[in-house]
């Protein structure tokens, strides 16, 4: 694997170089403290040093709203939506977010491989960037250590004078090859940072906990604070559930069928016509959300569907932490099944 030195003063010209290869999407500042992936217009507005974007790059493959078809009620006919395959370069992606994309790849390629997703996903280049974990990141606990580069074509690791660039795939190498702004001198990597937040058990020990957590007291406890807004679903890089609805235009003669992101925390999610709701309580819905991240699909693939980005916690309107939920499950499991005392402190920080 070839390594190159990209000094800080050459970053903009590197981004310009990328823009000649395809559409480039990268993090930008959005508001005071938050960041957002946007298509790059000005290379100088790209922010490579950021904690997390509000939404992951999932939005490019599974858009929040997507027209599935346009119909005419009068003719009773429809037109298919067209999705153009285009080269997309995602710059400045954190490694947990590219893992999120790999998880979605599984959901949309298994069983019935879905045209809409796979077309949008095709021809994508991922250029990762190292990051400094904040109080919410816990990717290490779900098997994604810092500098894990699976899924990336190119990886940028921060150092004192810019970034060390590694070309990981052939696609990545061919992008790097045409750029002449690299520096001769390799700089030393920055000080190694560590995760401040983590799960009590590593992800590979969680199946035994979840095996025993269906009736845990945590679900009821958490539901007392949860307001069921579904923010955790919307910001999750591996939540892919969607609703489908028809929208008529003002003529009432034609309209579109759209799919929109949905969330299992919302009251209507498992409700059917006639009044039955198969997950009526917030406790049931929280349990479903967390089991989906750590057990249901994990039992099949061996990997957790939580990628440790911390978004559901950082953006929760009620201050609920998925790390605290899982750690409380671990405690309850230990106390009930391993006969070990529960640690006195309920604070997550005390467990570190």
């Amino acid at each position: 694997m070839e390594k190159y030195q990209l000094n800080t003063n050459k970053i903009e010209s590197f981004i310009t170089h990328l823009k000649n290869k395809g559409k480039v999407f990268a993090p930008h500042k959005s508001g005071k403290n938050s960041f957002k992936f946007n298509e790059v217009e000005n290379p100088d507005s790209v922010v490579l040093d950021y904690n997390r974007t509000l939404n992951s790059i999932k939005k490019y493959f599974l858009p929040p709203r997507e027209v599935l078809l346009s119909f005419s009620k009068k003719e009773y006919s429809f037109e298919k939506s067209t999705i153009e395959v285009e080269k997309k370069i995602f710059l400045g992606v954190h490694n947990y977010d590219v893992k999120g994309v790999l998880r979605l790849d599984y959901n949309f390629s298994q069983g019935n491989p879905e045209d809409n997703y796979l077309k949008r996903r095709a021809d994508s280049i991922f250029i990762g960037v190292s990051y400094e974990p904040d109080e919410y990141h816990f990717s290490q606990s779900v098997g994604i250590p810092l500098h894990d580069t699976e899924g990336f074509d190119i990886y940028l690791e921060k150092n004192d004078s810019g970034y060390t660039i590694s070309a990981i795939t052939e696609n990545g190498q061919s992008i790097v090859d045409g750029f002449d702004g690299f520096s001769e001198e390799q700089a030393a990597p920055s000080n190694h940072v560590q995760f401040k937040n983590r799960l009590k058990y590593n992800y590979n020990r969680l199946p035994e906990v979840f095996e025993h957590s269906w009736n845990a007291s945590v679900w009821e406890e958490v539901s007392k604070r949860c307001v069921g807004c579904g923010t955790c679903n919307l910001v999750c890089p591996t939540c892919y559930c969607f609703d489908v609805e028809d929208n008529m235009d003002l003529s009432l003669l034609q309209g579109t069928r759209e799919r929109n992101w949905d969330g299992c925390m919302l009251n209507s999610f498992a409700a059917v016509a006639g009044g039955e709701n198969f997950r009526e309580t917030l406790a049931e819905r929280q349990r479903h959300r967390v089991y989906r991240k750590f057990k249901y699909i994990t039992d099949i693939t061996g990997e957790p569907w939580c990628i440790g980005c911390g978004r559901c916690t950082a953006y929760c309107t009620a201050g609920i932490s998925i790390v605290e939920i899982v750690n409380d499950l671990c405690d309850e499991y230990e106390a009930k099944y391993l006969n070990r005392p529960v640690e006195q402190s309920g604070l997550n920080a005390a467990r570190l």
Binding site: L68, L69, F71, S72, K73, Y76, S77, F78, K80, L102, D105, Y106, N107, F108, S109, G111, N112, P113, E114, D115, N116, L118, K119, R121, A122, E150, G151, W214, Y240, C241, F242, D243, V244, E245, D246, M248, L252, G255, R257, R259, D262, C264, A270, A271, V272, A273, G274, E276, F278, R279, E284, Y291, R292, Y296, I297, D299, I300, T301, G302, E303
Partner: protein, 281 residues
């Protein structure tokens, strides 16, 4: 885990086929029967117990069980309770109206494995709708199966569906038909009581009887208790589960119970598969 996504043959999953309503009949105040003709009069090619996504432009889509048997070639049939937005619009449609269809979807009854067995049908309310597909399949392949026992329960006599066929079932020497209503009327001469009251008197060859159970969610627990008391082995019980479904193809997530997508592995389940599955029953 990294998947080479370019290796998958992507499918267009969400485009309906435009079919036509070729006949409509009202059964009750809430339920209507529809015959649907696909382009060219082609058969749907379904299994008893499977469903289609009915697609009405402007109203959306909803999963609806097919009520006709695959042995009936050409047009297929639906029987629909007017209960939500889509079914409201569907009820307003007349013969000749266009209607979108996707499917058939899901797993139906494994009729091949039922061959040679006695078939016990237990249907509550509109649960009889998908079961009628199985009933007619057995009737049309009568020599392949043993006894056909039907236990049907409705809230009241005026909620019983398929009025003409019920008379035929009643009069047929090849069908053992039992019916009950929760609440009778002065004219009602039959059984009154919930559906589980029909089960104890049945004389069953336990090892050789397949029970196919479909009804409202509340019904399953009690029917399963009755079958247990009767000593029907769990392995001989099949049931169909209702869930919210938006896509029908295992993508939208709404119908998920634990690891199982009802639109893929269901709606018909072999009881041992879901006996210990939380949230299933």
């Amino acid at each position: 885990m990294s998947i080479a996504i370019q290796n998958f043959e992507a499918q267009e999953l969400y485009y309906p086929e435009i079919a036509e309503i070729s006949a409509v009949k009202r059964f009750t105040a809430k339920e209507k029967w529809f015959e649907i003709t696909l382009p060219g009069g082609r058969s749907l090619g379904h299994q008893p117990g499977q469903f289609v996504q009915v697609s009405l432009f402007g109203a959306g889509e909803a999963p609806i069980s097919v009520t006709s048997s695959p042995t009936k070639k050409g047009a297929f049939e639906l029987c629909v309770r007017e209960v939500g937005m889509l079914t409201n619009v569907l009820h307003s449609l007349e013969t000749g109206s266009k209607i979108g269809i996707r499917g058939p979807f899901g797993r139906g009854f494994d009729v091949e494995s039922f061959k040679g067995k006695d078939i016990l049908i237990i249907g509550g309310g509109i649960g009889i709708v998908p079961l009628r597909s199985l009933i007619n399949y057995v009737i049309d392949n009568r020599k392949d199966f043993g006894r056909l026992i039907i236990a049907y329960g409705a809230k009241s006599p005026d909620e019983l569906l398929y009025p003409e066929e019920l008379v035929q079932w009643e009069n047929s020497k090849e069908i053992e038909y039992h019916v009950t209503v929760d609440q009778g009327t002065p004219e009602w001469k039959g059984n009154t009581g919930v559906i589980t009251t029909l089960i104890p008197p049945l004389d069953l060859d336990l090892e050789n009887t397949i029970a196919a159970v479909v009804g409202p969610p509340i019904m399953y627990k009690f029917v399963l208790m009755s079958l247990k008391t009767k000593r029907v082995p769990d392995e001989n019980i099949y049931m169909s589960l209702e869930r919210r479904m938006k896509c029908g193809v295992g993508k939208c997530g709404h119908c998920q119970i634990n690891h199982s997508y009802v639109c893929q592995e269901g709606p018909v389940y072999h009881y041992p598969e879901i006996k210990n599955l939380q949230e299933a029953i």
